[in-house]
């Protein structure tokens, strides 16, 4: 943040203020080595709502999402500056336990990535390592509750001890969502969760998101503008490392202000 401020301070258009935000970002910049991938992102994410991050490929959506559970820490050359708070707590505080943070901020990846273990063990792994359960009954209960919340219980309840990798793509992705839910997070990050799924599986996952919204703060990166419109309360538009425009989904799609947003939404980018 100190050296390479390439362009004048960002002039993102914030269409509607969020009061009592769950996640707040202030002047977040991310560098991969010498290269800066995000420039001064300021964003307030509302609680118990779905916030979509859209924008052309390589604009930094995933990079931003990975700041929120500090997955960028696992990339040696990545460096994050600025401030991100969840419920007012600075998550880049040196005293903060990253492992604890990642239990509280679940993540679902682009390609379904269940562990090559049983369905049960996939869900049970997180709670086990975080010591969330006291005994087997507790664990069984947590596993079935997580699967139920992810809308997968009825499909897998008879085959909990079969490998998770044997499920269909859409079921695997919901298994991953259940796995994220099992550590009792309050924020769930999803990076293009439907890009590897067929339309029917996609519809199921979208339905699930709308349901989970009541209890969780969801941030989703999506390439599909239709999907953003279907599931998101708020939408943020990113462009080459800048957060350009942010507001209610309806505002962004029906009446984009910035030229770049308009070009993207009305399909004028190549």
């Amino acid at each position: 943040m100190d050296q390479q401020v390439a362009t004048p301070a960002s002039s993102a258009i914030i269409r509607s203020a969020v009061d009592d935000p769950k996640v707040t970002s202030k002047d977040v910049c991310v560098f991969y080595g010498e290269k800066q991938a995000l420039f001064d992102v300021n964003l307030d994410v509302p609680r118990n709502a779905v916030t979509a991050l859209i924008g052309p490929s390589g604009c930094g959506k995933s990079t931003y999402l990975r700041c929120i559970n500090r997955m960028n820490d696992t990339i040696p050359i990545a460096r994050v500056t600025g401030e991100i708070k969840i419920d007012g707590q600075d998550i880049y505080d040196p005293d903060l336990d990253v492992v604890e943070l990642r239990a509280r901020v679940g993540m679902v990846f682009q390609k379904p990535n269940p562990f090559p273990k049983s369905i049960f063990d996939n869900i049970a792994y997180g709670p086990r390592i975080h010591g969330l359960v006291r005994d087997k009954t507790d664990l069984d209960e947590l596993v079935s509750e997580s699967l139920e919340r992810a809308g997968l219980w009825n499909e897998v309840k008879d085959r909990l001890h079969e490998p998770g990798t044997g499920l269909s793509g859409g079921q695997q992705q919901r298994l991953c969502i259940a796995r994220a839910i099992a550590t009792k997070p309050d924020v769930i990050l999803m990076d293009e969760p439907c890009s590897a799924l067929d339309p029917i599986a996609t519809a199921k996952v979208e339905e699930l998101m709308l349901e989970l919204r009541q209890n969780y703060t969801i941030m989703i990166v999506t390439h599909s503008m239709a999907q953003a419109q279907r599931v998101a309360d708020k939408t943020a538009f990113f462009h080459i490392g800048y957060m350009v425009e942010y507001g209610d989904t309806k505002q962004i799609f029906e009446d984009p202000q910035d030229k770049r947003t308009q070009d993207y939404i009305f399909g004028r980018f190549g």
Partner: protein, 439 residues
């Protein structure tokens, strides 16, 4: 190539047919030619393999049989007593076993009052190893002293060679190792069912000996076993830990680059150099005993380490990063992600690499020569600090002896070594299948 042209240039397409038979024929024959080359290459390799195995097996299989003579040995009490008439350990140790054996043979052949030259000829039919054989019978049960017991006694290597057909009966007596009388005795013993080729357990139990019939791989097998144990205990944990650190934790900088290059270089260092290193460090500097399997094991560990590291790194790298992300994503620490997910998935590869390293170490000879494992060791090593040899070194030592019995044993020992290698490779395949998981 040619078909692509047809499709990619529309101008030419009109002048050329899509199913131009000449073109098709050319492509098919090119394919067939390539397959023929491949097949030929495999055939050549197989041919040499078959030649190798037939020559080893045809020369070596007889090493697994050894001629023994069943004799009723009279354990004359006077042979085992001191001057005072009591049986003592010392007397048992010093008894004239050769005479006992010879007397028994003489009785079996029905020869009465043999003269000196006859006695010598009779003695030549029996191995010098019968001392230990008879003593073992007595030590197992001392009440046998004074009785007559049937014992299978080893025949001498010349008798063995005669039975196996490697001493030619048609050779004139003067140039034959056994004269006509001796050959007649042997035939008589065979006829009576007293002289037989039996499975040669001694090949696996005896230590070093100057007579082939009492020389075995016992010491070498124990020595090799100790060394494999040391390699497994030293090289495998260090190698896996080093690989896991380099893959998962080490920062990518010049230092780790240099380390990486050097590990690869180390894997290519001639093994004898590791022997020199072991001589300088373990024996001359640290003062560990020469000829000990401990030093051999440590040298082989050094040699195997790069193999284990390289195999483990490859196995870890083959684990999809999405698994790592998934683990970190639910809040596993990097250690947990490594131990709970990455290493179990990499296990088949690690096992395979490790066993290949062990197999290399088992067959390695040159570095062991440098640290004195070429020793004449008669007694079993009890600890890795005791003098020992190794299987390939034993083969090397036997190969440099000229006696027929040792030539046969060289091949037999090679078969044993190959069998061990084969079993270990099979274990590698089995373990890989067993632990392989799909994702």
């Amino acid at each position: 190539m040619a078909t692509q042209d047809t499709i990619s240039s529309p101008a030419a397409a009109s002048s050329r047919q899509l199913n131009d038979p000449a073109l098709l024929r050319r492509r098919y024959s090119a394919e067939r030619r390539f397959q023929a080359y491949g097949l030929a290459a495999i055939m050549v390799a197989l041919f040499f393999l078959v030649v190798l195995f037939t020559s080893i097996i045809s020369q070596g299989w007889t090493a697994f049989l050894q001629s023994s003579i069943r004799l009723d040995v009279t354990l004359d009490k006077s042979e085992f007593t001191d001057a005072d008439g009591n049986v003592s350990d010392k007397a048992i140790r010093l008894a004239n076993y050769a005479k006992l054996g010879r007397d028994a043979l003489q009785n079996a052949l029905g020869i009465e009052k043999p003269g000196r030259p006859e006695k010598r000829k009779l003695k030549e039919l029996l191995s010098r190893g019968i001392d230990t054989q008879i003593r073992d019978v007595i030590e197992a049960d001392r009440s046998r002293i004074g009785q007559t017991v049937p014992i299978w006694l080893l025949a001498s290597d010349n008798v063995d060679a005669l039975l196996k057909g490697s001493i030619d009966r048609d050779v004139p007596e003067a140039r034959r190792q056994l004269d006509n009388r001796q050959v007649a005795w042997v035939d008589k013993l065979v006829e009576e069912g007293r002289l037989e080729k039996k499975f040669n357990w001694g090949l696996f139990t005896f230590g070093a000996s100057s007579q082939p019939e009492t020389a075995g791989l016992g010491v070498a097998i124990i020595g090799s076993f100790f060394m494999m144990l040391i390699v497994a205990l030293v090289a495998v944990p260090i190698g896996v830990a080093a690989a896991a650190y380099l893959e998962e934790f080490a920062p990518k900088n010049t230092l780790t680059d240099i380390i990486e290059v050097n590990i690869n270089n180390l894997a290519a260092v001639p093994s004898i150099v590791f022997g020199l290193l072991g001589l300088a460090i373990f024996i001359n500097f640290m003062g560990l005993p020469r000829s000990a399997s401990l030093v051999g094991g440590l040298v082989l560990s050094l040699m195997t380490l790069p193999t284990v590291i390289i195999a483990t790194r490859a196995a870890i790298r083959a684990v999809p990063p999405s698994i790592r992300e998934a683990a970190l994503g639910v809040g596993a620490s990097r250690m947990q992600a490594l131990f709970h997910h990455v290493l179990p998935l990499a296990l088949p590869g690690i096992l395979t690499g490790t066993i290949i390293g062990l197999v290399q170490a088992l067959g390695e000879t040159a570095p062991l020569l440098m640290i004195g494992l070429v020793a004449f060791v008669v007694d079993y090593p009890v600890t890795p600090m005791d003098p020992a040899t190794a299987l390939p070194v034993q083969i090397y030592m036997w190969a440099s002896s000229a006696e027929r019995g040792f030539v046969e044993r060289t091949m037999g020992a090679t078969l044993v070594l190959l069998l061990f290698l084969f079993v270990m490779n099979a274990a590698a395949v089995y373990l890989r299948r067993r632990f392989e998981r799909k994702w």
